[in-house]
Symmetry: C2
């Protein structure tokens, strides 16, 4: 369990760490892999959430998953991308969070994931929680804890 002071300091500057949907680059499940390749290369994120036309979260797709489709059995075959869609290569095995976030679970999930997608009760995409935002809060905690509190071994 995470203690109350640690939780308070981690959450002090940002109530829920959410980067909201309108500020997150996403792809649609029906986008072509050529489009996905362009978007993933140009935005500089190696993995983005995939939505359906109802703006529900349906997966995550990475640049390496798209590029991997261009490697044939023996050779580099960029024409392999033709006719394939994001839904053909995306990961559907993910652990979306809901608001309010469970800080303990989120900290655990971020050990192995660069971001956690957040959805509402209808699976509508709300945004993402990133390692970057959590690490900002960890910096705050590390600097403030012993400035603001006396810490003594039990």
């Amino acid at each position: 369990m995470i203690g109350s002071t640690v939780k308070k300091l981690l959450l002090e500057n940002e109530a829920d760490f959410l980067i909201s949907a309108e500020n997150v680059a996403t792809l649609n499940e029906i986008n072509s892999l050529e489009h996905a390749l362009l978007v993933l290369t140009k935005i500089g994120y190696s993995r983005v959430p995939v939505l359906n036309k109802e703006e529900q979260l349906v997966g995550l797709v990475s640049l390496s998953q798209v590029v991997d489709q261009m490697f044939g059995m023996e050779d580099f075959e960029p024409q392999n991308l033709s006719g394939k869609k994001v839904s053909d290569v995306m990961d559907t095995n993910m652990s979306p969070a809901q608001l309010p976030i469970d800080l303990e679970k989120t900290l655990h999930l971020l050990v192995d994931n660069n971001f956690i997608p957040v959805v509402d009760e209808n699976n509508q995409f709300m945004g993402i929680i990133t390692r970057k935002e959590i690490l900002k809060a960890v910096n705050h905690l590390a600097h403030e804890l012993e400035t603001e509190y006396n810490v003594m071994m039990k």
Copy 2:
């Protein structure tokens, strides 16, 4: 400044967070971009350190930097990779750390970087410090602090 108890708890399980060079995927500056594309796609890391033949750190290269070379002015031109080397596209603007790491500086750098390369005094590549390892230590800190210590507001 980071307090002594926070530092102790963060460093308790791993003295320096280093993933040593032999366990880190790297590219050589003279590798072709075709080779870099294959390696970056297959290992699943979006960015790796680049070494010279003396195993010194000379840059970082990402999958998106390599793929970006395949986009011509108007079209997708995979043949653009031919004849280009990793040294032609890599970032040389980086902030390598030295051992023993400065925890405060490292925590700050990891807000904007997924890993920090570590070198010795001769710029020999020693390994990397990752957000993943730091987040493991943050989980330990978050769980143990108020179990092991009494924390009272000053």
